[in-house]
Symmetry: C2
Subunit: 336 residues, 2 copies
Amino acid sequence: MATIKDVAQKAQVGVGTVSRVINQSPAVSPNTREKVLQAIQELNFTPNLNARRLSLGKTWHIAVILPYLTLPSYVERLRGVQHVFGESDYYPILYSVGSPQRRDDYLSLLSEKSQVDGLLIISIPLSEDQTNKILENEIPTVLIDASNDRLSHVVVNDISGGAIATQHLIDLGHSRIGFLSDYLETPFQHSGKDRHLGYKQALQSAGINYRDEYVIEGERGRQNAACMAKDILSLPEPPTAIFACSDTQAIGVLDAARELNQAVPDDLSIIGFDGIRDSEFLNLSTVFQPLFDTGDQGAALLLDLIQNITQGPQEIELPLKIIHRKTTAAPSIQGT
Amino acid sequence: MATIKDVAQKAQVGVGTVSRVINQSPAVSPNTREKVLQAIQELNFTPNLNARRLSLGKTWHIAVILPYLTLPSYVERLRGVQHVFGESDYYPILYSVGSPQRRDDYLSLLSEKSQVDGLLIISIPLSEDQTNKILENEIPTVLIDASNDRLSHVVVNDISGGAIATQHLIDLGHSRIGFLSDYLETPFQHSGKDRHLGYKQALQSAGINYRDEYVIEGERGRQNAACMAKDILSLPEPPTAIFACSDTQAIGVLDAARELNQAVPDDLSIIGFDGIRDSEFLNLSTVFQPLFDTGDQGAALLLDLIQNITQGPQEIELPLKIIHRKTTAAPSIQGT
DNA sequence: CTGAAAGCGCTAACAA
DNA sequence: TTGTTAGCGCTTTCAG
């Protein structure tokens, strides 16, 4: 592997000059530049990135930290992220963290400057300490799908999202409305909790009373959702509509309905959340959240932060919108 | 930011000793180790990765190079990759390359040692020159979904895959079988071409003659596939079955059938390829390829290569299998 | 415009 | 067991 020194020797110049040529400094005479270029060519030289990083204190890499890469919603956000970085000089390094333990390890590791030039953290709320550490180290950071007082973030309003979905069902004439989500209390994100809040609020302002037995939480995933839905649908007075907190779970509810011989949307209305590809295939009514944009704008913001174009904590809130497809309709039987 | 020097000073030892402590060298007395640990603690010190990288000539990073991150099949492979690296000390850096131009740039850039410790290249066949460069630089490399004489790779047998799908249709009694894929000739991968070859072979050994008008290629994506399918289904003597080279395209064919009021599978049988999540939702018959495993095993192999556990070019071929769901059946009308 | 030299922070060989 | 020192390959003053 040729080094800058070899080039200097071959071109009969100092290493400083070679460096200047590499970095397009104008302070080199055309003549010597030519010589150096020649030598670089012949030696097939490429600068060693690590040396350059050490010297410059920059890495040209961004750490993207996210929970499992396994959910479609993360993939979609990642596409947005990729869309921005693909055009930039920065490269994303993926840190997909399964356990809360590893998550904390990474976070603390990466909060050091010199590891990466910036942090993009998806769906992971930060503790006070973690926030402090990042701030102390002055490492540019953007959170996606999580709020933070002192750090920039891009979010959707999950509370209003929950309300929108519920209101849609209410408008259709439902009053017995079930709510299904993954665990409401988790170290990762609290979108479920927020949507639940919105659900409650919509119910309340419509004068519908909240029933504990209509709210069910559990492990994420299609199959689990199906199980949970079956429970709720076996109630003496089952809901006529179910709001599932993700499209994947809504699909599970769809499974359950089929199994129980309930027609959708005649016997049961179902609405999901996210607007992933699959929802389109299945004609699922859903609350669309701009996952791609969320990633895209988060990444763009981070780039601005790194380049000092933008300062301080910024908040971007992206709009949600309802997509009325074929799994929601007026109830055939009036509710209570 | 504290450096190793600060720590040494504070602990009243030499930098070498600090380095030893950091690197768990046994050659440090418990006493001094304690002192050093103390100082590290107090100074909140973390070693600078870049310095370490420069010194050691290792990066602990793997470059994962792939075409657009936008297709479900890449995501699935990526999950497999992540599954392996998540447990290792290595981190994947994603290089998602849209244009052939950038692809070549990256490849040449990354083939330098010192950039990363290894290359995982997905769905990109390498030229002779590119292969040479990698070999010269002795950088551990594994290709996924692409063959190479001199580099390790993990693949599925697309020729046999094409044959399997076609044979399935033939077994069902079809003889007018359409073939739909994205462009057969592309710089990226040639799986389409191989599957087409398998299609031809199966036809031939069944004594069915090959018809040009039944083979159609075009831009990838669901919508385009729908268009293409409509063309082929409007032929004077349309096929009774269509083999689409990806599930996404098969879904497009499904759209076309619906639009043309053709019942599936009664009027038209459809089989896809890949076995992505969506295929399950839609009860699509398909040729399942182990995308996740492909990523997983490729990553594992690369790790072995890096750690010198395994040598030289290895080939791993993963099996394909047919999944007969509800979009394929015997034709209602006997073909020609 | 150019060369020499001093770092960047760490590792490892060499003495002690 | 430990401290000292010479790199790793590049950038960037500082003179000239």
